[in-house]
């Protein structure tokens, strides 16, 4: 029960905390800079209370224990999580690796993660896609892509 309520209220609460921190930051400034922020924050707080009360009431009425199907979803969630971390790692390491090398490694690992086992595709596709994108953006459209220690 507690898990279900936490699941329902967790995200709205996180949003309210972020809004609260933002409001606390601007409330010391001139009133004209909070003409919109202040009423929006107050309305958010009111809606959080209304929505929270409604969700808690629904949970209590249905007696939903929550967490069911959690194990079933966990594998998919892990895959998405790993995939997301891979994308974050690509962005974080791009200044060091450069776009071309970074995207080749990203694509190779992402293909592996998503279950591709064809060796030709695993190596050929990342190289070709990365090179095509590099040529298109860097050479054709004049968008300077990050260059790493390899110089491209």
């Amino acid at each position: 029960m507690r898990t279900a309520i936490l699941q329902k209220l967790g995200i709205p609460l996180a949003m309210l905390i972020a809004a609260c921190l933002y409001y606390l930051e601007v409330r010391h400034g001139h009133p004209r800079d909070q003409m919109l922020i202040k009423p929006v924050f107050i309305l958010m707080a009111v809606l959080f209370a209304v929505n929270g009360a409604w969700d808690v009431r629904l949970c209590l009425r249905s007696g939903d224990g929550g967490g069911e199907g959690g194990a079933r979803d966990w594998k998919g969630l892990q895959k998405i999580g790993c995939f997301f971390l891979l994308a974050v790692a690509l962005v974080a390491l791009m200044p060091v690796l450069g776009f071309t090398a970074g995207s080749m490694i990203f694509l190779h690992l992402a293909f592996r993660l998503l279950g591709m086992d064809n060796a030709a595709m695993l190596y050929g596709l990342p190289v070709s896609v990365s090179l095509v994108l590099y040529m298109l953006f860097n050479e054709l459209f004049g968008v300077p892509l990050p260059t790493g220690f390899l110089g491209f």
């Binding site: 995200i11 949003m15 933002y22 001139h30 004209r32 809606l47 997301f84 791009m94 968008v143």
Partner: protein, 501 residues
Amino acid sequence: MESFTILYNGFSMIFEVKYFLLMFAGVAFGLVLAALPGLTSSMGIALMLPFTYNLEPLTSLVFLLSIYSGGILGGGVTAILINTPGSPANIATVLDGYPMTLKGRAEEALGISLWSSVIGGLIGCIFLFFVMESLANLALRFGPPEMFMIAIFGLSVVGSLSSNPIKSIYGGLFGILLGTIGMSPSGVVRGTMGSYYLLDGIPFLPALIGLLAIPELFSLAGRNFVVDTMDTKFSLRRIISSGWREIVRHPVQVVLCSVTGVIVGVMPAAGGSIAGLLSYNQSKQWSRRHAEFGTGIPEGVIAAETANNASEGGALATMLVLGIPGSSNTAMLIGAVMIQGWVPGPKMFLDNKEVIYASVSSLFLQQIVMFILTAVFCVYAVRIIKIPTRILVPCIILFTLLGSYSTRNALFDCGLMLAFGAAGWILKKSGFAIMSVVLGIILGPIADRELLRIGQLYNGDILPIFNRPIVLALFLFSVLSVIAPMLFTLVRNMRGKREAA
């Protein structure tokens, strides 16, 4: 008369091989993307945005509008064949389209979808052409109070964007706060956490790509194929002739549903999905065969497909003239015109009238291009849908990262896009309407800026703005758009209870 001359000039500008090639490329790309469930034409526009940096405004608009046009029609193909709407605009299409497939009438359903879309699209274009000028002239009389109320009117629809209006409004309010981050119009830095990348506010494109595209890609990453099974063969001639036969049997419905679509399209953030559903419900109530709706009848497909295509003409009118996005597609298009250095709003239309009319002329031609390509596409759709997601998803992620990076050549924007992607995915899983957050991010800064100006004009008092007729009218429309969906739901529930009793 002047508009006709400009439109004529627009057509003469568009009749070039270059533009026709761009139209074919754009429509084909939009068609393919929209046919892949989870991938939308807004994602297609986002992917192609970096390619338009060095293009002329007209070339860029023609190309992106072609993706947009193709994207609306493509989603109907999968909705009919496999009960999976390729884009949210095609939600109502599955209600009768798929049952028609189950009855062995897939070719007919595809033909109806094709003709309905093209006719609906053309009616939307005609509306766009006739209304754009007067809408812009009216908009010129808009001062800070009117612009503020337009932002409020745009935000007033957030309540109807999900089944839980409170959550939807909550998301919209959070979006408004996100939209006010950065340097305020009075020069005060707010909520940047010390990052100078956020001084100009949250960059629009990375936020939009992250919120709209990434959650859909994450959902696809957990699957092997975008679509699992499909092995039917179709004849091009039968698709076109059977569809036309049904369309000529229901001319009044086609026109009425198109008009409904246009009206819904003009409303900010209402979009094709609401237009399709509203038109479907309307047709169901008015039709003599209302009891057969949902069992696979042509009227159901006509209602959904004419309205969702016609709605885009209305949405484009609001976007091109007022700078308010009526859907995620038009939100992306606003990003595209901003790249060209245009500032969305009435002035943008007046300053670039010739280019905008030329791109509207291209919309008429795009309907023809769309018809040809979609007819062929229906026959070959099967093969494209069979591409494994393990190839598609990583490549598209790479494209979205590049799209975000190219806006300011800053890796910070890529990180921001991923952060918004994760946030969008969590919000989606928690039942929030992502579009409400997007609307908040887009319209929040406008409301903030105009409210500050109102404060300066009326010494901090907001009530005098209600003495202005346009403000009052917009305020009433805003209240109506908040209350009307709730009233409709209430009436529907009461009617349902009465019928059940």
